[in-house]
Amino acid sequence: MAFIGAGVLRGMGVTFRTFLETYPWGRVLLRGLRQPAVEGLVTIEYPDVKQKHAERFRYFPFLVYDGTPDNLRCVSCKICEQECPPQCIYITGPAKDEQGRPQKANGRTFPVEFKIDVSICMSCRICVDVCPFDAIEMDNQYELSSSERFGSLILNKQELLKPNEYFQRIKPTEASEVDARLAAKRPKPQPVFPPKAP
């Protein structure tokens, strides 16, 4: 079409089509006119409906334990603390007894305290990549908003600890890979990593 105003009218046609596509009767009408019509409304009404996230969706890290919370996989090697790009992980440990020797639980050293400042964490997943023990994994819990900066946004060890079953539930593919890897490792004696100097 050559006359001036045709482009304008065509543009209005596009918006009107979209307008129709958002109504069921509009879609019926469009199909009646033998036009393709898809569901036009793409909004997810958040608090009522939640977006379905991909399995790999990552938010903040958590610590995995097998069975009971004292059987955590973390040995307090501090690699993640060192590698964390925004430096949001703080580990105290490994736990020592009175003589200054590393304490062990289930044959492993463990951290006295493990804190993640989630208001600094940028969910990059590097801590998971570098962890030699698969002790830290990414959670997909994202409703953590709070008005308290220090009270509830610095997660401590208790808040971070989650069972392996939880991990298996939220990320089945990844968890089964990790489980297989750990099972292959198990017969060997667990190496104890001393904290490495940077």
Binding site: M12, T15, F19, Y23, G32, R34, G40, L41
Partner: protein
């Protein structure tokens, strides 16, 4: 339910109310009733216009629009109003406080005054002035003062830029607006809005060549005068933050919005009055239309069968209802007005805005000459009014001048397949 009950739904109670008073006070009482009705209805219209706009635009953008407050977000305007009321009222430092506070009031007052001469239905008019059309133009141009007052008093660069644009735009677009309405006066022979509506009993003015052109020019200038997309230059939010009302907050800001929406509604309503037959239904009996329409739909091959069946049935049913009880005049009026409101929103949902110089160019170089030629076309049509010659001549003159004006006016590069590719 008796037949005329719907038609006189609003008139009857008013008369009953008036008759409660002694004879001598009745003219004053009826004026009071009209004023009261308009004052009560105007904010409601404005509030729900915002709701309608938000809903419709949202739908054009794959969204829901307001849904949270009330069913379908129907209470959203109330919530907004409440929010506006309790917000802090800020006047910038160094602003002229008096003018700053007066400007939004000055904007709202004429917008409400416009409703005085609006024939909502057969007997639904507050004041049937014999210069109704002139009154409309006179009152609506007051908004230029309000805009400039607000922009100037704000003491902000963005405001003053917006105000300058606003004044230039409102004044410029008044010219083609008035000239396009001249043909209405010519043909209707009256300036009273009621008279104009009655003159369209046989044929709506939009159904003539000159009326079509004049209607479009009138509507476009109206859109420009109320600063709405694609002519929302004075408040261009992507350039001037918010233009002349950048420095307004709270209820003053709400008043600006109220003025804008009321004027937008008034422009649609007056366009309906002047060109779309006002409160008149189509001149052709409605049942004829429905029968014709249903026949057309029933035989349309392009439609799928269920749609054809349902649509035909609906149309026929509507025709039957119509024969039994005519649609009341005010309903026609509102339906047509809201159809135009939909167009207004639709424009806003689709287009970017023009640039300020292009906007002026459109007014002075295109709409003005077109409106002048249209007067000639209307004269020719009137001269040979009942023959084919009048129709043909006026249509031909308009088409030719449209084409010539486009040729003379279109400096933008045509789109060519200029994008070569290599690789």
């Amino acid at each position: 339910m008796s037949l005329p009950s719907l038609e006189t739904l609003f008139v009857k109670p008013a008369i009953l109310l008036r008759d409660l008073f002694p004879e001598s006070a009745r003219p004053w009482v009826s004026i009071g009733i009209a004023i009261g009705a308009i004052a009560a209805v105007a904010p409601l219209i404005m509030m729900y216009l915002t709701w309608i706009e938000r809903k419709l635009i949202a739908r054009m953008q794959n969204r829901f629009g307001p849904t949270r407050v009330g069913v379908y977000g129907l209470l959203q305007p109330m919530a907004d109003g409440l929010k506006m009321l309790i917000k802090e009222d800020i006047a910038p430092q160094g602003a002229d406080r008096l003018l700053h506070a007066m400007a939004p009031i000055l904007a709202v007052a004429p917008a409400i005054l416009l409703f005085a001469v609006l024939p909502f239905g057969r007997y639904l008019i507050a004041a049937d002035l014999n210069v109704g059309l002139l009154y409309f133009f006179a009152i609506s141009s007051i908004s230029a003062y309000a805009i400039f007052m607000g922009g100037w008093a704000s003491r902000s660069k963005f405001s003053i830029l917006g105000a300058m644009r606003g004044v230039a735009q409102v004044i410029s677009y008044e010219v083609p607006g008035v000239l396009s309405a001249v043909v209405v006066i010519m043909i209707a022979g009256t300036m009273s809005t009621v008279g104009i509506v009655e003159a369209q009993a046989q044929r709506w003015f939009i159904a003539t060549p000159w009326g079509f052109v004049a209607g479009i020019i009138f509507f476009l200038s109206g859109v420009a005068e109320v600063n709405r997309t694609p002519f929302d230059m004075p408040e261009a939010e992507s350039e001037l933050v918010a233009g002349f009302h950048t420095e307004y907050s709270g209820m003053k800001f709400a008043l600006w919005y109220m003025a804008e929406f009321l004027e937008a509604f008034a422009v649609c309503a007056f366009a309906v009055t002047f060109f779309l037959g006002g409160w008149q239904g189509p001149a052709v009996p409605f049942w004829v239309l429905t029968v014709l329409g249903s026949a057309l739909i029933a035989t349309a091959r392009k439609l799928s069968l269920p749609v054809r069946v349902v649509a035909t049935a609906l149309l026929l049913a509507a025709g039957l209802v119509w024969i039994k009880e005519p649609i009341p005049s005010w309903m026609w009026f509102l339906a047509k007005t809201y159809a135009l409101v939909f167009v207004l929103v639709w424009l806003r949902g689709t287009f970017p805005r023009l640039r300020v110089d292009q906007l002026m160019g459109l007014a002075w170089k295109f709409l003005l000459p077109m409106a002048l030629i249209n007067i000639l076309a209307a004269g020719l049509w009137w001269f040979w009014r009942d023959s084919f010659i009048g129709w043909f001549l006026s249509a031909a003159i308009l088409a030719l001048s449209y084409w010539l004006l486009i040729l003379a006016n279109h400096p933008a590069r045509r789109f060519e397949a200029a994008l070569s590719s290599r690789g």
